[in-house]
């Protein structure tokens, strides 16, 4: 436990650890088993922390900066993309690079390992590429008319959705034409797919939320205005019944049970602080938001109320994510600190 530096004990029973990294985190991802946290740095390297003992491994990462990372479902590999135009597959145990793939002539912005472990999808500018897990490129779609702003696999790993200006497209793996195109007159910047694949939802630059049942029907189409700013944060509750969304200083939780949120009143969590990150606990009721002014807010999401717990960190929160089992929270802030908080259940 030598590398674990515990922060001052507080009466809330949260076990806290803090690590210093050399730079801002551009991405932070828990390994699927919840034991490791991988952090891509804006300056290039990737750090992997063992949440049990604080051991740190460092991967070389990407020249000019790492943009996104994604774990293989078996926890053994990591794929990363960066500003050097590459997609890199790493062996986590040995920290060796297994494959360097050409991801584009420019920044490769997004990468995602399919939940079934078979594919790696990435986007660079307007181009979507899909490799098999050994790094063999078998699909390259160049038909987007504007930059892809988000990519998202369905839970089975058989279909991938892309978000861009004025449209969401859904592709079947191996078929190089969109299976479904969902138009919406706005610039989509965040995207999420419901666990059972029944809903696809996007946040927009203009402070709105749009969504469709899959397959889409007219009655189920969502077009919700009224967020203060662009909607960057989308997070499903543990049972997939509600979707928490954030834009500006508001968290809005929509009920996706049954026929979806149309004609239902959302739960609105209000606070004056501008939200930069938000994550719903995967196995519990805590919703946590991180803010521009460096606060971490814990909300119980049953009734609209003030946050139950508020912690001040004093540096803008730029990454925040619950581990898959809901036991640990990673919080990265712009002063280059990584915090891992382990919470008691309930």
């Amino acid at each position: 436990m030598s590398n674990l530096k515990s922060e001052e004990k507080k009466s809330d029973n949260i076990e806290r650890h803090v690590f210093q990294i050399s730079d801002f985190a551009s991405d932070a991802k828990w390994s699927p088993d919840g034991l490791f946290i991988a952090i891509g740095l804006v300056s290039g390297p990737i750090n992997i922390f063992d949440s049990r003992n604080g051991d740190r491994k460092t991967l070389d990462g990407h020249e000019f900066g790492t943009m996104e990372i994604s774990w293989s479902p078996d926890n053994s590999k990591l794929v990363s993309v960066g500003q050097d135009g590459h997609v890199k597959i790493w062996d986590v145990k040995t920290q060796k690079i297994l494959k360097t793939l050409k991801g584009g002539a420019q920044w490769v912005e997004h990468v995602s390992w399919s939940p079934n472990g078979e594919y790696i999808a990435s986007s660079a500018g307007k181009i979507l590429r899909i490799w098999n897990s050994d790094g063999y490129l078998f699909q390259e779609y160049k038909g987007h008319s504007s930059t892809i702003t988000a990519i998202q696999w369905n839970a089975k790993g058989t279909e991938i959705a892309t978000a861009a200006y004025e449209k969401i497209m859904i592709f079947l793996v191996g078929v190089n034409e969109p299976k479904i195109t969902l138009p919406f007159p706005s610039s989509m910047i965040s995207l999420t797919w419901h666990k059972n694949g029944k809903w696809i939802v996007a946040g927009t630059q203009e402070g709105s939320l749009c969504g469709w049942a899959v397959p889409p029907t007219d009655e189920s189409h969502l077009a919700i205005d009224g967020y203060e700013t662009k909607v960057t944060q989308l997070s499903w509750s543990k049972n997939g019944k509600s979707l928490a969304t954030a834009g500006g200083s508001m968290v809005v939780i929509w009920d996706f049970s049954g026929k979806g949120p149309n004609n239902k009143k959302p739960l609105v969590l209000r606070d004056e602080r501008r939200i930069t990150q938000m994550s719903y606990q995967n196995d519990g009721d805590w919703l946590v938001s991180g803010t521009k002014d460096g606060s971490v807010l814990f909300w119980k999401t049953v009734v609209p109320e003030k946050p139950r717990l508020v912690y001040e960190i004093d540096a803008t929160i730029n990454q925040l994510q619950w581990s898959k089992d809901g036991s640990s929270l990673v919080i990265c802030s712009e002063d280059g600190k990584v915090r891992i908080w382990k919470t008691p259940r309930g």
Binding site: F24, S26, V42, S43, P45, A105, S146, Q205, K230
Partner: protein, 460 residues
């Protein structure tokens, strides 16, 4: 380790917004030359350039990244509100770097309308927080711009949007042609600062960190055209002494020209000479008939051109101790191809300056200035400006103003890009300071009378 992580020294605290200069201009005007020039100067700054080509390259301490000019329409009710989605992403990424850049330059393609870039800094919260739009710099090819200036809306917009214009390649055209071009540009955009350059070489202090979009202290200096109209449009300083001279004119747009010749010192700066000219022109202007010999005197003369062909004024300097004279002309000498000579010797001015008239020619892009004393009713003003920008926002490229509101101690300052408006409270009006309102609208098909009338109706 990556290259950039070797420069981990934070050169400025995260909280200070990073200034951004936008460089526009037609293909071949000298944008790339300017960017290369800036990057290679010893300014100690760490600069990132966002340009419209793919790829990312490090140049010494600096970085050049590609962006693809993705323009998004915002469906926020402004029909003309467009933003650059790629800029939001690329700037968002710069913001995260610990080895922060001191300065960002954005290069646009030759045909780009600058408004989506400018509007991005008004619309996106994260961009607004972390970056300050410093200025839009437009590079104009002094030789080739005439091919576009009257027909190309992109060319007109780039001039109309500019805070600073670099008249580049001035070595390829005559001083008279440059004068004419400056006059034309001022008539389109009265707020712009023009610098003449060759090979895009310019003192960087003139184009970086100029805070054109910083409302505080802006318009503190009256834009040129809001100043009193001068009785002359041009001053030229000539190195001439006792002797007889001829000033040749070709036919020009007006049938007559007023002119004065005053002895000055070579070291006099042109602004002080200007004041002497104003005094002289306040005297009676005497007639001059073709062929007369006139002696430099206290009165200016009015020279009426004969019906046809070229003509000349002859003047004599006699018994003067001065070896430098200033010639003031009512119109631009370039419009008449004016030439000063003595015998075989032709004289060029050792220094000259244009004082553009506020009246505009037949350009579709114009500047409209309002300068009215008094105070306005806040609600009426708000309604009027809101309505104006709503209905004419597509045609109004930029607007700026200082407003005196009834019952308010502070000056109210606004600036707009199309329909997007920023309004801030400025310093208080000082005791004894005359309360007045100054507004400028730059755009296409603007009706001066209507706008002035509309604003006047808000006055108490």
């Amino acid at each position: 380790m990556s290259k950039t992580s070797q420069n981990v020294e934070t050169t400025q605290p995260a909280s200070i917004p990073v200034p951004v200069t936008v460089v526009t201009g037609f293909l071949g005007s000298g944008k790339t030359t300017l960017l290369n020039y800036i990057l290679t100067q010893e300014h100690g700054k760490k600069i990132a350039v966002i340009e419209n080509e793919f790829g990312e390259i490090g140049i010494d301490n600096n970085l050049v990244v590609g962006a693809d000019e993705e323009i998004f329409e915002m469906s926020n009710g402004c029909i003309c509100c467009t933003v650059r989605g790629d800029l939001i992403r690329v700037l968002g990424n710069f913001m995260k770097r610990k080895d922060k850049f001191d300065y960002i330059l954005i290069e646009t393609t030759g045909m780009a309308d600058p408004s989506p870039v400018a509007q991005t800094f008004f619309v996106d919260d994260d961009t607004k927080d972390s970056f300050d739009l410093d200025a839009i710099v437009t590079i104009v090819d002094a030789k080739h711009v005439w091919q576009h200036i009257d027909d190309s809306s992109e060319c007109q917009e780039q001039i109309a949007f500019a805070d600073i214009i670099l008249l580049n390649k001035t070595d390829l055209v005559t001083p008279a042609e440059i004068d004419k071009l400056e006059q034309k540009i001022y008539s389109m955009n009265s707020l712009v600062k023009i610098h003449r350059t060759q090979n895009s070489v310019i003192d960087l202090d003139k184009i970086l960190n100029v805070k054109s979009f910083d409302l505080k202290g802006k318009l503190e200096k009256k834009p040129d055209f809001l100043k009193e109209d001068l009785p002359f449009e041009w001053i030229g300083k000539y190195k001439i002494s006792n002797g007889t001279y001829e000033i040749d004119f070709k036919e020009g747009p007006d049938p007559s020209i007023n002119l004065a010749i005053i002895p000055v010192k070579e070291s006099d700066d042109i602004e002080s000479i200007k004041d002497m000219g104003v005094t002289t022109f306040s005297n009676n202007i005497g007639p001059y008939s073709d062929g007369d010999l006139f002696t430099q005197s206290e009165n200016p003369i009015k020279f009426t051109f004969p019906d046809k062909g070229s003509s000349k004024i002859r003047f004599k300097i006699d018994g003067s101790e001065s070896d430098t004279f200033a010639i003031f002309t009512e119109h631009l000498p370039s419009e008449y191809d004016m030439k000063v000579s003595s015998g075989e010797q032709v004289f060029e001015p050792i220094e000259s300056k244009i004082y553009p008239h506020s009246h505009t020619h037949d350009n579709t892009v114009t500047s409209i200035g309002i300068d009215i004393s008094g105070s306005v009713d806040y609600n009426k003003f708000n309604d009027w400006l809101g309505d104006l920008l709503r209905t004419k926002g597509t045609d109004i490229f930029r607007s700026k103003g200082i407003i005196s509101i009834k019952d308010r101690e502070d000056r109210i300052i606004f600036q707009g890009v199309h329909m997007l408006l920023d309004v801030v409270s400025d310093r208080n009006w000082e005791d004894g300071e005359e309360r007045n309102n100054q507004l400028v609208f730059i755009g296409r098909n603007l009706n001066r009378e209507e706008i002035t009338k509309g604003f006047s109706s808000c006055l108490i």
